[in-house]
Symmetry: C3
């Protein structure tokens, strides 16, 4: 619990109302807001809606000055809301202790102030940074470096050699550093091509549940700083992304493809291997990138095309049955005309 | 092993033949049936096929009265077969014991008659109901409630606050309650929006292997009573389903979309977020729902449309190359006509 | 570290240069090659590129005889490279020991020379073959047979009854033997149809991270010898594949479909259930097989068609907006002609 004044200080905002109002949590106008909670409203309309709920306070832009609720004025209400929500976020994995059942190799280095849960296994040469939290059943492989203030959820597997930066969040069941999919095919079968590279996860990355990220064949598979991978995403060997990419649930990027910065791949999308995708590219859900993509393109479709072109084509496709009738009519009329001409 | 008479009692059926015949298991006409097994036949034709196998007995509708095999007459042969198959189903996880290596928080409550396997971790405030079975390596987070007679397979992760009803089956590797995918994007990056809701799994739900279900942003993500999720399905934050939905392998539903009751999403399908999908809606495999859907619609395609319309369009698309030739012919004929007219 | 001569002996090649040159690892012309490493070049052009790197030696076809680098002549440079890469592959899971925290049932049989990591659980009646390596947190269910020289990564779950051959590699988080998705639907709900079959994984199979393979309903789900499944692949109950199939990331095969030998399903593809797919069939990425497929077909699209036909159709679809203009012009011209004829 925090007072409105304390929250204002955290986000650098101005209180119009009662600084000492106790705030018990965050709420949403749409999904419900308990008495004593705080919500945000980016417009006068949404503010009016917020006034009709039980919230104790509303985070608003500086243009909103009058309210039946306490106000907290900020430059970016949505961001301030996110920051305040952090104050109320439970941290169940933060114990500050190393559980006695964790098996930690004598040649692993564990910083102070970590939280290590039951049945964690940390292998030879691994390094765990300060403040990092590791949930139950996690396996940290040989030579893995995990930075500071990371949050690794239960049953995650981090295979040998993986390098993880600071403030990285990895959700349960993710696998980082499995072998890339590489074989030499002969008449006798598919001979396994050893995958001798590694995986580098840069700072501030968040990786969803049951994600799979393969180690590189020679060099590294790399997830760029501040990128966010949703659940069940797959990155093939030697994929690299620039910073702040958003890769939504169940998408997959085939091996050796390079993403620029702030690339957004919407849900269930994909990209072929060995491609170069520029900065600020957006791919719509279910899209499939099959060629290099220039900066700032907005693509959709499978294969993906520039969005308006794809939209135009899809609109035409929907009209196809009528178009076929039109063409049959044209043929009929043409035959009639030919008949008339003969006469 | 059970006698035919005992099985008849279980399903409320009538034996025509030997009540004391020992039945050793179930079999399938198509896939093989060992001597002494029981199978089912919904028609005279299938019954004849069954007579040619080694089965000891056949479950049949009441219209079938004569056979070279023992008969078990019921109203619904397929359902009776399923009930009888339960009698022969191994229950390897049911030990009736709490393994000494399980780490159970002092403030967790475990009912009697549970089966808890090695290396299970049950966190503070968790409650496990009677008869429930928890396989090796499972993590039950803080404040999680698991109902009675549930079956949670190895290495499942149930994050804090999740509520699970009775008779819920969760297959290995599933993750329930990972953070929803929510960020506030600014020039400085994607700031994490804490996900403060939870997940509610109602009674009689079955969840497949390596499924991911995110907790709500504020409120709950909810899987309705009797719904069945297949492997590798993903539910985004605040998705809710009505009862008895069927969501087939590798499908994904984006955040805040609501499904009615008895919605069927076939394999590898998807739905955008913030939609309302009615009752008894069916979506074909690979379909992608992009708008609200009314009750009882049968949809296909991506984006999904009413099935017959989608089918008509797809049929037209397949004829497109020939259509293009037709149009070139039309153009030629038109030019010829214009020439003739000039003369 | 090995000498070039030792490597030549392993692959049956001929050294042109210094037999005693120490080789420290493998490298790639494209992705970087450290001094002292060995790479391969399949053509004179690629050999020239290799000469410009720091490699100590190049594996080449017998047609290349002169070089500024040491040469290792072989019949198949790519295959020889893969074999040599194996010599430099770390084997972090190979400890030769059974960790004291592993819980092994008294009635399980463990061969000699196995490596079993912390927190492995091996259930009653399981058999583990010689030389096999089992990573941390793995669950081997009742009656599971694992062959020789297998490599099972952390947190894999192998459910009861599964049969695994020799030299099988299973990457982290995979689930083998979860229940197939089978229900009998009545007015009262979807009644679970017990899945009483098992899973057979033949020799030399490799299974990717977080893969799910369901047990059969009665009989077996079977992955044929030498097949390679990439991450997040799903096989429904009673799917069977012939030998040496390649199933790329995030693909899914619905229940009871049978693949022949050397079938390749590219990334994010799928196949309906109860189909028969012949030998040497290739399906392009995102393809969806909806009918039986004959041997040697190359398919693409969803639904999948013969590739050239699909390609022709997709090319026509892209021209649709222009086609619609063409048709409007035709209609205009036709109307003009009709007018002229009247005159």
């Amino acid at each position: 619990m925090k007072t409105l004044g304390q929250l204002a200080e955290i986000v650098g905002g101005i209180v119009i109302g009662n600084n000492d109002m106790m705030i018990i949590g965050v709420g949403s106008v749409k999904d419900g807001a308990k008495p004593g909670s705080i919500t945000f409203a980016e417009s006068e309309e949404l503010h009016t809606a917020a006034e009709m709920t039980d919230v104790a306070a509303v985070i608003v832009p500086k243009s909103i000055t009058k309210s039946s609720k306490n106000l907290l004025q900020v430059d970016n209400p949505r961001l301030a809301y996110a920051r305040i929500a952090h104050e109320f976020m439970p941290e169940p994995l933060k114990t500050g202790e190393i559980h006695s059942t964790s098996v930690i190799h004598a040649q692993a280095q564990i910083a102070s102030d970590v939280s290590i849960h039951p049945y964690v296994v940390i292998d030879k040469g691994a390094i765990i940074g300060e403040g990092t939290v590791i949930g139950p059943g996690v396996y940290i492989g040989q030579g893995v470096h995990v930075g500071m203030n990371c949050e690794i959820h239960a049953n995650v597997v981090v295979e040998y050699g993986t390098q993880i930066g600071d403030r990285v969040i990895i959700h349960a069941g993710a696998v980082i550093g499995s072998d890339g999919y590489g074989f030499v095919t002969t008449n006798d079968g598919h001979y396994k091509l050893p995958q001798l590279g590694d995986v580098i996860i840069e700072d501030d990355v968040e990786i969803g549940a049951n994600v799979t990220i393969d180690r590189g064949a020679i060099d590294s598979t790399r997830v760029g700083r501040g990128s966010k991978l949703d659940n069940l995403v797959h990155l093939g060997h030697n994929v690299t992304t620039g910073p702040e990419c958003l890769i939504v649930a169940q998408s997959g990027i085939a091996g050796s493809t390079k993403l620029g910065k702030r690339v957004t791949l919407a849900g269930q999308s994909g990209a072929f291997g060995h491609l170069t995708i520029g900065d600020h590219v957006t791919l719509a859900a279910r899209g499939l990138i099959t060629n290099d993509v220039e900066d700032r393109m907005f693509l959709s479709g499978a294969p993906a095309q520039e969005h308006r072109k794809d939209y135009r084509i899809k609109a035409s496709v929907r009209k196809l049955p009528e178009l076929m009738k039109q063409i049959r009519n044209l043929e009929k009329k043409l035959v009639e005309l030919e008949e008339k001409l003969k006469d």
